[in-house]
Amino acid sequence: MNKKTIVALYDDLSGAERALSELEAANLRQDFTMMGADSAKLGSSASLATENRLESWRHAADFGEDPNFDARDRRVSMLTGIGVTREDADVFAEGVRRGGVLLVGRVEESMCDSALAVMQRHGSVNIPGRAQGYREAGWSGYDAAAADYDSAQVAEERRRAAAASLRDVNTQGVNTQGANPAAGAPAATPTVTPAATPTGRVDVNRD
């Protein structure tokens, strides 16, 4: 059977976990693994239960790669090794470096659309938009020698992503019901417009 590699970047752990839970309900969990969960939980008080859950998510799928693929210098090669283009792999690896979480799956082509719908529903990042945002801030590509963001930088990055997401929603006039692009992110910055919900989250349905 023909398989596809599918990858989604989330700004925080909660979106990725919700997507993975739904994939589990659809009997697709065994095809997915998670990258970046360790750095993404920075700043949260992770309980033992959370740790155990993360451990199970990380090992949901066996891609046959080095079990240490989450290391900074192996992120891009792990992704390109399973078919991700170099350009996208750079963006995904940079997202993980900045506290994001990747869901990486290899699914049968016949199940691809179902998995895509689930992954998009839980606030996955717009890949070209995020790449453009990075570049506008001076980024030119993933640098494995650069240290991962610390908790303060991760929090700031999530605030920036939430604000950018809100700007996109407001400028594109997207219906604000459904998915959750900045779920779990800290409360939105003062740039939030009255269109935001009281929690600072905005639900987006791009379907």
Partner: protein, 47 residues
């Protein structure tokens, strides 16, 4: 935004990006085949 929103990356194992939604990637072949057929038909009728 300069590019179309793309919230999930879909790839063949050889590293080619596939259009989100599945069928669009293979549609190009049908378009090319159709154009070739139309050209052949036009040549047949006019030459």
């Amino acid at each position: 935004m300069a590019d179309e929103p793309r919230k999930v990356g879909v790839y063949d194992t050889d590293g080619n990006r596939t259009a989100t939604g599945g069928a669009a990637g293979s549609m190009n072949w049908w378009v090319i085949a159709l154009v070739v057929l139309v050209i052949l038909a036009l040549l047949y009728f006019f030459l």
